[in-house]
């Protein structure tokens, strides 16, 4: 195993994404980049918030190191999730990376105004996608000091 470990254990990532293909591709991307990640998946904004607040079925959920957030989701979209996080003192320090197919200026501006940490546009083909995931891991897991997480 030469997978990269973050702080001695696999990084916990929460992927909020409604598209199964993209979930699969993201998993494959991390595998290809050889990052040891503990990837959790939620399919919409409501689930995402429930996961973070450890509500209902998510009572045993870990606190993620990074949230990969899609903007375009049913029920509650990424923008609304970020608004909620901003209001929640217990969650506002979490690292949010927007991962979306939208290149619209408006979406980019709105996301940064809600203090997302990065804005990434999903590339068209897998090679480029895998490369992006690799760079993302390099940056967030090796260069950046992430907020401390209480481990049980």
């Amino acid at each position: 195993m030469n997978d990269v470990l973050v702080r001695g254990w696999p990084a916990v990532i929460l992927l909020a994404e409604d598209n199964d293909n993209d979930v699969e591709l993201t998993k494959l991307g991390f595998k290809r980049a050889k990052f040891a990640v503990d990837l959790h998946h939620v399919a919409n904004g409501e689930e995402c918030l429930a996961f973070l607040r450890k509500e209902g079925t998510y009572s045993a959920a870990p606190t993620p190191d990074i949230i990969l957030l899609d903007l375009n989701m049913p029920r509650m979209d990424g923008i609304e999730v970020m608004q909620e996080l901003g209001k929640d003192e217990a969650l506002k320090h979490l690292v949010v990376v927007v991962l979306t197919s939208s290149k619209a200026d408006e979406d980019v501006i709105r996301s940064y105004k809600l203090r997302c940490n990065s804005y990434l546009v999903k590339p068209i083909n897998f090679e480029a996608f895998a490369k992006m995931i690799e760079s993302l891991g390099d940056y967030w897991f090796t260069l950046v000091t992430l907020p401390p997480v209480a481990r049980s």
Partner: protein, 527 residues
């Protein structure tokens, strides 16, 4: 009603001229007759010539002097008095022996009198009566001879005077008929009122309102106006209105009708009346409302279409990315296990996906032009050109293209769209180049209310029948192998130019290059 009517003043003038000639001539003929019949009578030629010349001089002067023309009646009366006085003098000199002299002057002048104005007629009658009385009193022997022609005079005066007055009345009636005909045959309703009370209405207005003339004339015009509009109507009736004022009129059957009225006061004698025109605008209002509805629907459907294009192209990207990525994965993971046929099919799938991706991206760009309107600002076309050619740097270098430009003005517009416009035109000029290295020149000309820009190249050109079609969305003239692309570039150009209040067109000679011209409105236009 005769079409060509002689001006009555002109007709009267002509009549006076003829009378002058006629009366003067008779007076001279009379001299000859008296000389022949009464050789011993007192009958001086010089005296008669003076009178005749004076009367003829009036006729001659009407040609030369406007003052004489204006006072021809007065002058003519003076001439007649001169004539009569001369007769009286002749009568006196001949010791009352010439009965027919007296009769003749009365007969001749009677004819003339019939045509004179009432005031001068009265003055002359009084004069002639006084003269006759003097003759009767002083010379009882002449009583009968003076009375008979005197009576004839009075009868003639009465008859001819009446006749001429009847002619005047007939003329007046004809003229009134003519006016009434015009008044009634206009399409607009017309009413004349005095202080709000209706004096006259035309047929068109009666048709519009359903009232009869008897029901309308004499009533207050405000009675026919909707209660809520009476204040506005009162203003029109008192002050007049040169531009149309909208009101609601209540018909006889109680229904409402939208009308537009205009009013204009005029003086009728010493009184002030007002002419009000009334137009039924129900149909026009309906048409305007309909147009507004259609327009709103059009705007809505256009917005829907834009949103649709934007969302469709946006949402199409997700499944497409899935296809592209899994095909990629398939090739990279299982490539070695696939035979040549399968590899070929996979690469064809990839190519199609790439093409579809380009199409969607371009469609997204196209629909975004309107979906994200930005405020106009002052844009230096020189800067826009520099930015566009900067973005094309690689292509320019590879093709060894040379881009030159006139001095370019500042325009009012959307900076990024104008850069896009130049980028697409320059990009095309480089892409569709001939054998020689591309030479592109951008010229600018000022026109009255817009700027005219020309982008001239030495490329392969476009056949004339496609000069318009190239601006259509997805219209392409070449296959993907020759010149890859989606055919959206010029459609975007047209959209950008449209938004800047301009036009775009292409002129080209196949093989010799193309010139794309576009205009941009001057001034502070908004998108």
């Amino acid at each position: 009603v005769s079409a060509a009517r002689v001006d009555p003043v002109e007709r009267e003038l002509r009549l006076y001229r003829w009378l002058c000639l006629f009366v003067g001539a008779i007076y001279l003929v009379w001299w000859v007759a008296v000389e022949a019949m009464l050789p011993d009578a007192y009958n001086p030629l010089l005296g008669r010539l003076v009178v005749v010349c004076a009367i003829w001089a009036i006729a001659a002067a009407t040609y030369a002097s406007a003052w004489v023309r204006a006072h021809v009646r007065v002058l003519w009366t003076c001439g007649l008095w001169l004539l009569t006085a001369h007769y009286f003098y002749l009568f006196d000199q001949n010791a009352g022996d010439t009965n027919w002299v007296v009769g003749s002057f009365i007969t001749v002048t009677a004819i003339c009198l019939a045509f004179m104005s009432r005031a001068s007629l009265l003055a002359y009658s009084a004069f002639a009566a006084a003269l006759s009385l003097a003759l009767v009193i002083e010379l009882p022997a002449l009583r009968h001879s003076v009375f008979v022609p005197g009576l004839v005079t009075v009868l003639l005066q009465a008859n001819i005077g009446l006749h001429s007055r009847l002619a005047v009345l007939r003329d007046l009636a004809a003229s009134n008929d003519h006016f009434q005909l015009l008044f009634d045959s206009t399409f607009e309703g017309v009413l004349i009122h005095e202080g709000g009370r209706i004096v006259q209405v035309n047929d068109a207005l009666l048709r519009l309102s359903g009232f009869s003339r008897a029901e309308a004339v004499g009533r207050d015009a405000l009675d026919f106006v909707h209660a809520d509009d009476r204040e506005i109507a009162r203003d029109v009736l008192t002050a007049g209105a040169s531009s149309p004022v909208e009101l609601r009129h209540i018909r006889k059957d109680g229904t409402e009708v939208d009308i537009e009225v205009r009013g204009k006061p005029f003086a009728r004698g010493k009184r002030t009346q007002q002419l009000v025109t009334v137009e039924d605008v129900t149909e026009r209002k309906q048409r305007a409302a309909e147009l507004q509805r259609t327009n709103a629907a059009l705007v809505r459907s256009n917005l829907d279409l834009q949103r649709f294009a934007y969302i469709a192209s946006h949402d199409l990207q997700t499944p497409l990315r899935g296809i592209a990525s899994f095909v990629d994965l398939l090739r990279s993971t299982y490539g070695e296990q696939l035979d040549a046929q399968a590899t070929d099919w996979l690469s064809r799938t990839s190519q199609s996906v790439d093409h579809l991706q380009t199409l969607i991206r371009d469609l997204l760009d196209y629909s975004r032009l309107d979906a994200e309107p930005r405020a106009f600002e002052t844009v230096s076309m020189r800067d826009a050109l520099d930015r566009a050619s900067g973005l094309l740097e690689t292509a320019v270098r590879d093709a060894e293209a040379v881009i030159t430009a006139d001095e370019l003005p500042d325009v009012t517009g959307d900076r990024s769209h104008l850069v896009q416009l130049l980028l697409n035109l320059l990009g095309n000029a480089i892409k569709y180049r001939g054998v020689a290295a591309p030479r592109i020149h951008i010229a600018a000309h000022t026109r009255d209310d817009h700027w005219l820009f020309e982008v001239r190249d030495n490329g392969i050109g476009i056949a004339p029948k496609y000069h318009q079609q190239v601006f259509d969305v997805f219209k392409r003239l070449h296959d993907q192998k020759q010149y890859p692309g989606t055919g959206i570039g010029l459609a975007i150009c047209r959209r950008v130019v449209d938004r800047h209040g301009g036009k775009i067109w292409g002129e080209s000679t196949p093989g010799a290059g193309s010139t794309f011209s576009f205009t941009i409105a001057k001034g502070t236009g908004t998108p």
